[in-house]
Symmetry: D2
Subunit: 270 residues, 4 copies
């Protein structure tokens, strides 16, 4: 991959990103939670449920990049405070999206991991800003981007001095319309041969269908992914966004049982 320096495989050892004690790139890490923080009650109930089921980190959006300006845009600071409370109560570190370079420094006060969304993968001003933050970054692949472009975006962050980048494949845009996007699972072994950075899979936004999330989570683990990020909502039918694709806590718990068992199987497979 031309132009890559810090992200390239030449670097001797695989990166392990330490998120408040959770080691991404070493253990199989599961990030779960609602699409957006809607209320204290919804966030805390979901946070408790996903911790109970074995999630390692809590996700939740306080700033939502939405197709329409008239859609719910997130609770902002209020949402971050709710996430802080959820961390206090459950002990789960927080993954939350940042969409404006002006917000990075203060959002980083609340977040354990700063998420860059698919629409902002090549928002270079934002990449440079999170590259200067002292927090790990979850960099989603652009729904239209090649592996080479994606790794160059990681390079933007690394070259600013932040070594803690977690890649996240979340589906690319194709002609297929049965699924929301097309999950490119071959990106997992491909990324592993191109870079030392960890890669996780988002089975929720890629498939956009509750019924496909369980299978794709298992497939991701079998493909060698370092983790998963899954949308869970304590009451999906009432969700303000992505109501069709959030798992209930029960579904998530059942999936976690299988994910853990599969992970154990692979640990014993030599």
């Amino acid at each position: 991959m031309k132009n890559l320096k810090l992200a390239a495989m030449e670097t001797p050892t695989r990166t392990i990103v330490n998120v408040a004690g959770v080691e991404v790139g070493k253990d199989l890490v599961v990030i779960a939670g609602p699409c957006s923080v809607e209320s204290e009650e919804q966030t805390l109930a979901t946070a408790r449920a996903v911790r109970e089921a074995g999630a390692d980190l809590l996700r939740g959006g306080a700033f939502k990049p939405r197709t329409s300006p008239y859609s719910f845009q997130g609770l902002g600071l209020r949402g971050l405070k709710i996430l802080e409370q959820a961390r206090k109560e459950t002990g789960l570190p927080i993954v939350t999206e940042v969409i404006d370079p002006r917000d990075v420094s203060w959002v980083a006060e609340f977040a354990d991991v700063l998420q860059i969304g698919t629409r902002n993968m090549q928002n270079f001003a934002l990449l440079k800003e999170v590259g200067q933050a002292k927090k790990p970054v979850l960099l989603k692949r652009g729904m239209y981007s090649t592996l080479e472009e994606w790794l160059n975006c990681a390079e933007y962050i690394l070259s600013e001095g932040n070594p803690d980048v977690i890649l996240c494949e979340r589906g690319i845009r194709t002609f297929e319309s049965y699924t929301r996007n097309t999950l490119d699972l071959s990106a997992v072994p491909a990324i592993k041969e191109l870079t030392h950075l960890p890669i996780i899979i988002d089975p929720t936004h890629s498939t956009g269908r509750v019924s496909l999330i369980g299978s794709m989570s298992l497939a991701a683990v079998a493909a060698g992914a370092d983790g998963l990020i899954i949308e869970v909502h304590n009451n999906p039918a009432a969700a303000l966004c992505d109501a069709d694709q959030a798992l209930t806590p029960e579904m998530f718990s059942e999936d976690m049982r299988k994910i853990r068992a599969l992970k154990q199987f692979f640990e014993t497979l030599s």
Copy 2:
């Protein structure tokens, strides 16, 4: 899916396609062998090796649909006779492609499974002809086709009276160029909720890279695929086509060990 009658899920039970005793849709079935039949020696050596490693069926092309008219087009009848000999020696049933409706009846004398390639998925004259054959059909997804179009092609075959259709996802065409195509593994659970027909995965043509085939085979099993079709060549460097993507017998054997172990794991997972 509109227009589907025979292929639709309404049909009560899942189809099991019996290929000379191998039950596709019940057991995990692995089809392996060279891209094309090049010689008796190459085919027999490869056939022995894949049987040894545990393959259930032997693949090999006697008629090759090639981008250029000046590329090797396959050995034709001579190739089929070599496959016949390989079956005699190894006991492995034969999967081979047919590309001309005029050839279906006599190719069916040699083949245990008639393969329809990705470029012929919507070759309706060919579909109708294999629909009248008395042999199972392996229907590859068009590299440009939606699940709905694919299932309608299965419907063409079923509606001519042939119930034995095996679907095969082999990658769709996208903007990504690191891989040859993009393997759409979410098609596995999607197809399972749309139809009763079995679905297998082709990790070779989808990724086009030897280094990705092992991971994608395991991911396919985890996603719930009914089988795999993998290119193996006794001497990939000398192959007349697809030299870059064929596994050696050693690589295949090692992958088979993991595939079997993973399959056993899933049998015990409730």
Copy 3:
């Protein structure tokens, strides 16, 4: 473009395909008519109308490649006889699709141009058969195919001895859903620098919207296309296929007036 011999630009002069006196590649040629031949009345009424409006050739399908086996598949031989009658009455040469290699020799008795549809672009058995026919071939681009693959399919026909190939860009498959496909008009100047074969544009199947056909026809002429193929139906609302995208004779007549004027403008522009 690798592998190209006969189709490549090295050949000194541009090909002009003579269709019963109409010179494709020299004049701007307009092919018009219904998607499918439905009845004598419909075909003759439409044929008269498009001749009146200035069309050079009549299109109409007797064999229809349809997504579902339960959709109208064309009138077959009866449809060809109706086209023959339309030619007798209007003098317009006939363009009609062939989808089965077994039909090529006898369909060629009726057709002035044999059309290969987008789904059959890489149906190599069919390409070889029309390569041996003594009639010009209209080769549509696969909705999923690169320029290189398309020209290799032309090479298949040329290498069998038939020099009369007309290329037709009809839209490629993308993520955009407002239009049926995405018309790739840059293929016109690209093809002109890669090959000596003429290229025409299909604004109907590419856009799939009546309201866009007029603009795209003018754009095609401005891009340097050698012709257009446009669906016209004497009563679109009653059409058995493609009812949403066929022009009425009045619309077509109005478009033809502008197309001719634009063509004259370009003849004077030096």
Copy 4:
């Protein structure tokens, strides 16, 4: 198109965006200039040449969104000052890209039109900021975005109080690799039936080939585009970016002659 309010066609009259006297949406407007501002000499020489050839506005990037962090990123403020000087000397209003919401207010002091690039189409923080600027905005379509998503981004700007949005189609990402992207010219009549905003075409970034730009410019005019944005460099071979796709002043001048003649033709065609 759901969710559209201000951008939707319901609004009675077509928007005309007045850029320092140039009326986009009324006259055919040609924007020309280098990809990036590299030096005073290069920018002034190119500016003089494009004004001479009849361009209406001058383009030039001071902030360049580049795939790699190690590529030339633009001259920043120094680039803007050079553009200011070019405007003073040639009288051509300036179109320049802004990529960081923190820069909008001060870049707007130099720019006559603020450009939002394809990678930032859904950079909502940036859209809101230019929505509050008092300068017209040129909103490029995301290379991965549907018409609906694009118009919703225009809606973001309009809903912040800025009515002066010019849309720019610049090619979408497909599987075709002969061209850099695939120019979707059908977007021109499609956009005209969906919104009252003007739309221009970028034949440079869409095709990525000097040899295709002339034809695509004429095709864009024939399709009904309100203008063109074309890369011109006084010495393309020495350009710091996009060297392969910039026209020389001579080529541009020759294209302008044809574009003007074609425009006049359409003014007389009723």
